[in-house]
């Protein structure tokens, strides 16, 4: 019985464990479903008393590099991001396996299968495998706590970063968690082996060779860790591979016990001798994993006839895309799920929408006033609340691809001859990935008009500080946009005509102009 159990989100369990493991810093950019890891640390009295680094970073790449720097200095660091954030951090992430680490370095990545709040459902297990970095995948909030605690020791033992992979339903579900006694922070102990840390080809070739030689050893040694386990079962007609939270859905289907043998997966890479169990324990196997058919593809191999029949997402025993749930797993097991009353036909969907009196709505109003006269013009948008401008009644944007792509895609389209080419980007997204694209545009004086929607916060993820706050004009002019073509407008209905007029004038100018539409997010005003 736990004496001081805590009620924590999966994200918060990661944060609590990292604090108890003695981190000296958390580095992150907000992104659903990972945001609450850093927010927990920012609000934790213990973290504040210890002065654990807990400021938001400009983006996931700077976060990963700053954490690697802290690790270089001998201290433990946590980096957190959503799955697509790992694309941004990919360069330092992949190379951190070549340098290795000093103080324990844990990369907590929250995947978003079913894309509840994302533009894709990429599976971070591929990245970890690609980079030769071990990955732990918890099934419960308690296991998330235990794995993160263990991951810092493991990282220092292997001298490699460790990935901990969460998915939305674990990250954003609360459960009772029993913590273990905290450990002090590491002392300052900067690394002193240039051959490890200076990735000149002459060093990198050697480090890479060492890493590839160590990988089979790490794989084999993982068998002695508690994360991959075999549970025997009497009914050998079916065996089940269950990774991460899929293990919970499996248990939900069999309240009085599972008759089949189970391989529970929580550590990657998986030892081949552990997988050998599959050859004798059951005649065919069902693969339950959240996200991509990552294990399933490996177990099938490239052959037309695998070693034993494998059921899963690839043969559509389970849906090929989207997150799992207990009903889908029950169906895959041939059980008849229960069903409540049907949804009456009069119930329409209720998609998210911009809040009433949202400044973005007023910005889209005056943009439409102008752009409705340019049927061949295009509006390139970006990631944030303002992406909802794609939906009625606004119908105001044409693209949304990745953080910062508004400015660069507008420039590329202008290069092709598209006119007018507008970019719409939020203040926080601009700080994250807009600056370098703006520099490209300034260098060529591209004929694009950029609207920076400055609501003075990171709205979609719940109102985190934007690093560009109070600095946008100086950043924009500092990068070389002509001061005559930088203007601040207030998106309010009473300025609609005036704002439209200014936008029309900037579109007429065949160079880079930046309009900053500044009005605070109404959610932030409400809560402050």
């Amino acid at each position: 019985m736990c004496t001081q159990s805590l009620l924590l989100l999966g994200d918060e369990a990661v944060a609590r464990a990292a604090l108890d493991a003695g981190i000296s810093g958390v580095y992150a950019y907000p992104g659903t479903p990972s945001t609450e890891i850093t927010e927990y640390i920012q609000q934790d009295p213990d973290a504040i008393a210890r002065n654990v680094h807990r400021q938001w970073c400009a983006n996931e790449k700077t976060a990963m590099e700053e954490a690697l720097g802290m690790s270089y200095a001998g201290k433990r660091a946590l980096v957190c991001m959503k799955h697509v954030g790992l694309n941004v951090a990919a360069d330092p992430f992949v190379n951190s396996a070549i340098t290795g680490v000093g103080g324990g370095l844990v990369v907590a990545v929250a995947d978003d299968p079913s894309m509840h709040s994302s533009q894709n459902e990429q599976d971070s297990r591929f990245y970890a495998r690609f980079a030769y970095i071990p990955l732990l995948e918890p099934s419960t909030q308690q296991e998330a706590y235990e794995m993160v605690r263990a991951a810092f020791d493991y990282s220092e033992q292997l001298r490699l970063p460790i990935v901990v992979r969460l998915v939305t339903r674990l990250a954003h579900s609360r459960a009772d968690v029993c913590p273990t006694p905290p450990r002090p922070e590491n002392p300052l102990a900067p690394a002193s082996e240039p051959s490890r840390w200076v990735l000149l080809p002459v060093h990198a070739r050697k480090n890479w060779d060492v890493l590839t030689r160590r990988w089979p050893e790490i794989t084999a040694a993982s068998q002695s860790l508690p994360w991959n386990r075999f549970f025997p079962g009497p009914d050998r007609r079916l065996g089940i591979v269950a990774a991460g939270i899929a293990f919970n859905y499996l248990h939900e289907c069999f309240p009085v016990g599972i008759p089949f043998p189970i391989l529970k997966i929580g550590h990657y890479p998986i030892s081949p001798t552990f997988l050998d169990t599959m050859k004798t324990a059951a005649d065919k196997w069902l693969c339950l994993e959240e996200g991509a058919p990552f294990l399933e593809e490996q177990l099938r191999g490239p052959f037309s006839t695998p070693l034993f029949p494998i059921r899963g997402r690839l043969d559509r025993t389970l849906p090929r895309t989207g997150e799992l749930n207990p009903d889908l797993v029950a169906k895959a097991l041939g059980l008849n799920p229960r069903e409540g009353p049907p949804v009456p036909r009069l119930v329409p969907p209720r998609p998210p929408s911009l809040c009433r009196r949202c400044p973005h709505a007023d910005t889209y109003d005056f943009i439409r006033d102008v752009m409705d006269n340019y049927p061949h013009g295009r509006i390139f948008s970006d990631i944030g609340c303002y992406t909802l401008g794609a939906l009625p009644p606004h119908n105001a944007i044409h693209t949304c691809v990745d953080m910062g792509a508004a400015i660069t895609m507008a420039k590329g389209a202008a290069d092709a001859g598209l006119y007018p080419s507008l970019a719409v980007i939020g203040d926080s997204t601009f700080a994250h990935s807009g600056l370098t694209g703006l520099l490209d545009a300034v260098a060529e004086n591209s004929p694009i008009t950029i609207l920076i929607l400055d609501n003075e916060t990171t709205g979609m993820t719940g109102g985190q500080d934007s690093l560009a706050r109070g600095r946008i004009e100086s950043i924009v002019t500092g990068l070389g946009v002509a001061p005559d073509h930088v203007a601040v407008v207030t998106p309010l209905p009473r300025f609609r005509q005036e704002n439209a007029q200014r936008l029309r004038a900037e579109i007429a100018y065949r160079g880079v102009s930046v309009l900053i539409a500044r009005r605070p997010c109404i959610q932030i005003r409400k809560s402050s």
Partner: protein, 199 residues
Amino acid sequence: MHYDMIIAGVGGQGILSISALIGRAALTRGWHLKQSEVHGMAQRGGAVQSHLRLSDRPIHSDLIPRGRALLILATEPLEALRYLPWLDPEKGWLVANEEPVRNMAAYPDPTTLYAAIRAFPRYFLFNADTLARQLQAPRAANVAMLGAASPRLPFEPETLEAAIAAQFARKGDSVVQSNLAVFRAARKEALRTPISLAP
């Protein structure tokens, strides 16, 4: 003891405050709890739901399987109907707020929503916002919802009242007292209303 329920509403209504109160009460009983929440994009005025599971044994899935929820507590009448496939067809209760949130063009006529709710054998439909306003606590509509659902929940009312007192303690005694008054009034209303047995 095992109790599954869904709290449904519209992003921005603060349905997580209801989950937090029930979670607090569950912890004082020493029960296990799993509570799945919605964060991110859907919170911006979209349909949101929280799966809440309470048990004296360990709970496996964070999500409730279909047909298992013993209660759908809806802070909005349209949202009361969205998650019916999760409701236990034999024992499930529907407790809903009458006050519509019309942030969409295709919002149905509310009277058709009320009729669909009333067609269900175990329901309680009332206006939580009106009740909270009448008691001079306009921000306590969610506590009114908790009060209205409380006769169906596996707690003594005192346990829920203690959770309310603890949750609002930071805001001072008058806020605690007005929330408790709203809770009690809504509970009384829910207990007074005869259960409809009509299909």
